[in-house]
Symmetry: C2
Subunit: 382 residues, 2 copies
């Protein structure tokens, strides 16, 4: 079966087959971010953003409402997270950078959940020590992007369970196994911790409301595959006295192989933040592209940048300037730029990015504790 | 349908119909406490106990093994608990007193779990505030029995979740929904917190092993209806590096109505520790008995103490002396003692017991914190 024929499967735990993002909007029942809505975001944010411009961030729930509340002076908080089941790859950083932009432009607090319990419960091969280690490593990657502790709270589910459990049982009481089965596709072989877990993922959307003692709007930037979690979170929110969280959803940043999400389980399909620059270069040079079978054919007919991961890396990470991007696009489709040459442009960009990122990772190593959600214990008591 | 015809249902959440304790041993797969085993317990404990003598404590798992380990110098810990869904009734105190005897005779540590999360999750009508309040009230009743803080740790699930969650997710990962459904009778309408909860009830059996860093035998004194929880706990124990917990199980102390467990949902069926002595007397005087339809008939044929809750209160609580009990039994079966007269004997005993218990409850009010499992946080860190 070829990649294109494979049936699309998109759940919070599995992405398989060719992802049809339009169909996901229908399937999940989210809304497309229209040009009109983009303008509203830019107006509120005070500037444009290429991930919106270039439609990597493309879907939402209740964003209109959230912006209206913001305009009225009703501040929202941001909530996103990471499942620490492996090293961070470059693809993860793209939406995190977008989250940072939102945080800065809207001057909001960010709750970032490290779902160590989830990854332990859903992965037979992972021990607690493994997910703790990945939590630490992933945290370094997040912080290397330049977040500041004042408004950034990293929640490690197991370590900070005392802040979460009371809200989680209130959520859990409102979600039946029937619902969980329908929404997440659980079957009878699922372990009882995995069945419980969706309650935990709902909590950070409500945590701030508990802390300040009044309901606070919440915006969740996330990849589209996580939407089922928020659907259930939204269903229970009002019954618990909270606002339904809004969300703003991105497509996956592609892997270096043919199609699909960057996969932590196939090391060559992704550049990890812990790869040496040399290894990253090797991965780039081995990447799948939209090129033709022969150089001669490509010179004559041009290549296809729209299915090419190399081009997507320019688009979503390395070429914020529209003219630069347009130039590459034209040379590619026109047959002037062969894939090997094109990769030779990307490789040093990737290497330089990695070097800087890794230096930043080193620098934040002794500051991790400053971002801990443990600080919320004092706020909770007040 | 009469009470006798009603089908027996015994689960951790529901006891209905006439309880056949022999059948429960078969159904749950536990073992009867034989006379030979009783002698071994007495030998190790250094004295006899009326609840064993009189077969209220009648069933077990692995008690032989536990006593052998004890003899070898391998100390065990005790674990029991309470679901704080209502006020304590006199029936609850009976097994707690037995637990205290075990603690004293075997010089062991007791972990006592207040399952506030369970009661919140399983009872649609209970809010968190309700289960917190009952936790406090029930704790007073426990402590009024004279436990000492040195070896007694009261775990409130929600308050002390930081001590429990890590072990709970390790348990939960090993229990599928299929198993939970088969053992606990969960269906698809069960909420995902209720499905998760059995993992939480397993934790205190393993907590001490985590604290001291080596596996420690555990004995669970409990009512027979809780056995399904320990069956699953036992199934996962060895895979997690712990001993299977042993258990010693009691029958229910009967209510004052016809048959069945004392029920917190029918206030007249039980004497609560918070009842006034006057109210308690009223309840005793209204109790169901094993008496005949008329006084005349009873004088001629005698009454049946073996189905009589009044007689059971003598047997399990108020008449530790065998001669006293035997005297009542003979006068009852011989027709010399009418039920009204007999209740007039029980009523002042109950009132006096309550008065003393309520005074003891008052005295422990400012000592509750001394028993908190919060103290374990320091032990955990070491």
């Amino acid at each position: 079966m070829s990649y294109d024929d494979e049936e699309m499967v998109v759940t919070p735990w599995e992405v398989r087959g060719k992802v049809d993002y339009d169909r996901l909007i229908e399937k999940f029942g989210t809304e497309r971010i229209t040009d009109k809505l983009k303008e509203k975001i830019y107006e509120a944010a005070g500037e444009r953003h290429i991930l919106l411009e270039r439609d990597l961030v493309y879907s939402h729930r209740d964003l209109d409402w959230l912006l209206k509340e913001h305009k009225k002076g009703n501040k929202f908080i941001l909530y996103t997270g990471r499942g620490p089941s492996g090293h961070t790859h470059i693809g993860h950083l793209v939406p995190w950078r977008f989250t940072k932009w939102l945080q800065e432009r809207f001057d909001t607090r960010l709750y970032f959940q490290m779902t160590d319990d989830e990854k332990f419960l859903f992965n037979p091969e992972l021990e607690l020590e493994d997910v703790y280690q990945y939590t630490y490593e992933n945290t370094l990657d997040l912080l290397a992007l330049g977040f500041e502790p004042e408004d950034t709270y990293i929640i490690d589910d197991i370590k900070h369970i005392d802040l979460l459990y009371k809200i989680a049982v209130r959520v859990a009481k409102k979600v039946t196994f029937s619902t969980a089965r329908a929404v997440y596709g659980f079957d009878n072989s699922m372990n009882i911790g995995g069945i419980w877990y969706p309650a935990m993922q709902a909590v950070p959307a409500f945590l701030h409301s508990e802390i300040v003692g009044e309901k606070t709007p919440c915006l969740i930037p996330c990849a589209i595959d996580q939407d089922p979690y928020w659907r259930v979170t939204r269903d229970v929110a009002e019954g618990l006295g909270y606002y339904k969280p809004a969300s703003i959803q991105n497509k996956f940043v592609p892997g270096l192989g043919e199609g699909g999400k960057m996969s932590a389980s196939d090391p060559m399909s992704a550049v990890f933040t812990t790869d040496t620059p040399k290894m990253a270069k090797k991965k780039v040079m081995n990447a799948f592209t939209g090129g033709r079978a022969t150089a001669k054919e490509q010179r004559e007919l041009g290549a296809n940048p729209y299915i090419c991961p190399v081009f997507k890396y320019y688009k979503f990470l390395f070429m914020p300037d529209d003219e630069d991007l347009s130039d590459i696009e034209k040379r590619c489709t026109g047959g002037d730029l062969l894939c090997g040459e094109c990769k030779q442009i990307l490789a040093p960009m990737m290497m330089e990015f990695l070097e800087k990122h890794q230096a930043a990772r080193e620098e934040v190593k002794d500051r991790v504790h400053e971002f801990s959600a443990a600080r919320l214990r004092d706020e909770m008591k007040r």
